[in-house]
Amino acid sequence: MTAVKQGAPEEGALEEGAPEKRAVAVPPARPPARGGAVTLRWVAARVLGWSVLAGFAVAVLYPLLWMVLSGFKDNQEIFEQPWGLPGALRWENYARAWELGVVRYFTNSVIVTVASIVATTLISAWAAYGLCRLRMPFGNAVALLVLGGLLLSPTVALIPLFRLLTSIGLFDTYWALIVLYTAFRVPFTIFLIRAYMIELPREVDEAATLDGASPTQIFWRVILPMCRPILVSAALLQALFAWNEFAFALVFVSDDAMKTLPVGLMAMQSRLLTDWPVVLAGLTIAALPTILLFLAGQRQFIRGLTEGVGK
């Protein structure tokens, strides 16, 4: 996948990049030029198109909206007026969800997510640096090893990993998740960062070397700062992954006090079977961080996705 990578223009990875050009080139669809008149068929087609777009927006949004609103209801309101608005903003549901376990799961998720972001981004940036800016023995073999890592999926490794983690004493610790989230995401992240790093001009390193900088200094002071945009993308995607990961968190952590949100929520749902509002409030709290993160860093997110997906 080709991508824009040179400094400034790259900022507009999506259509924001060329607003004027686009405005000229693709005027919003007009009635067909031939007849000039607005035909019935043309109107019908547009109405249909718009209904599809709007219908999908509603289908996507309504369940989420229902989740947030139902978090404010009481049981009676949920069961008797499932479509209605809550009679009052019962923040106490959210408070109760928080106290009944969400706070603990939330903390665990934050710990695991933050640690794995730092580890994944750093380890991948080091490897990308070694692979594309230094002359390294067996560089191709390492690149192949990393590439192969992209093809291997976590589900397949559950049983041997269970044995391995038990035997080295990582089972039921934060480290189990941090290490695995890093190991399984490093290949993707290396390729993501490498694709960006490889485009930085050679002269940068050469100039720094002439000034007497060592490879280590060049990495920390020159290359890493220049890679900031892609590092942000990498970190955001890792956050989404780690915050939402379920299979490893289910199998390798059994102590309820160590559970992360995805697994903890399930435990909560079975504990509070009849208390829908509190569970729904808990779901809302759990969903909020990644949604906010996505809204805030949308452009970096999408750049990471479209870049990474093509590697």
Binding site: A59, L261, T290, G310
Partner: protein, 295 residues
Amino acid sequence: MGALLTRWRTVVWVLPAVLLLLVFVYYPIADNLRLSLFSWNAFSPEPRFVGLDNYAEAFGDPVFWRALLNNVAYAVVSLVCQAGVSLVLAALLEELVGRRLRGLLRTLYFIPAATSITVAGVLFSFLYNPRYGLVNEALQAVGLGHLARAWLGEEGSAIWSVIAMSQWQGIGYTAVLFVVAIQRIPREFFEAARVDGAGPVRTFFSVTLPMVREMTTLVVILTISGAFLVFNEVMVMTSGGPDNSSQVLGTWLYHQAFFEDDMGYAAAVATVVFVVTFAIAALQLALSRRRRDDA
């Protein structure tokens, strides 16, 4: 000598990544192959070599085939929705909507993909609830009450209900990928099509579709391999029930390993998943290599 040493010192940069990969990614996969040839459980210290017995057991097990079939169903529905419907959505978005509103809709569509599968799964199990769920309420409201059922509790509908939830979560994600691909098409192509008098539908088939082929291939492959790896959705919503009717290979191996304590059998199922997904991924790699060589 000094130069050689300097060259070798560069290995340090990739060492952490390589070690992590070897120990936690490659070794387990290899170990899984080995373990699938043994009969053992979590408490037996001495695994017993049984050759291909675990595979024979799996291939003779109707639940294994049921699970595989469910994976295939997952793949087919996801292909239609996440490669087909998403592309149409993306094209409509580009064709009809002005810049500002388009950005907003794109954001909206992506939001389910930013929530975790647990959140989506638990939320949908409320929506599917036979007594109070919105799905049945909605059906009754429009006079289709006879269609109402215990969506996740009946053998006929459980896996389809899970698959439907997955589409809700996945369509927006691939639609965003397609939007980006469409935006990379040089504007002149659309211009030329318009000058030639092509309408939007014609333009879609003769410009958009061929020009996003690369992304389509990619989405197709990601979707298929995703369908064979699916685990979380099923685990959260049905755990494979009722009566194993919604098992997929991932949940079936989990069930065998951690509930039936038949680790060898589970490892054999894992190997099957590995072979399928590895073949798909290798195919993707081969395709993208060839494209690069063509270019």
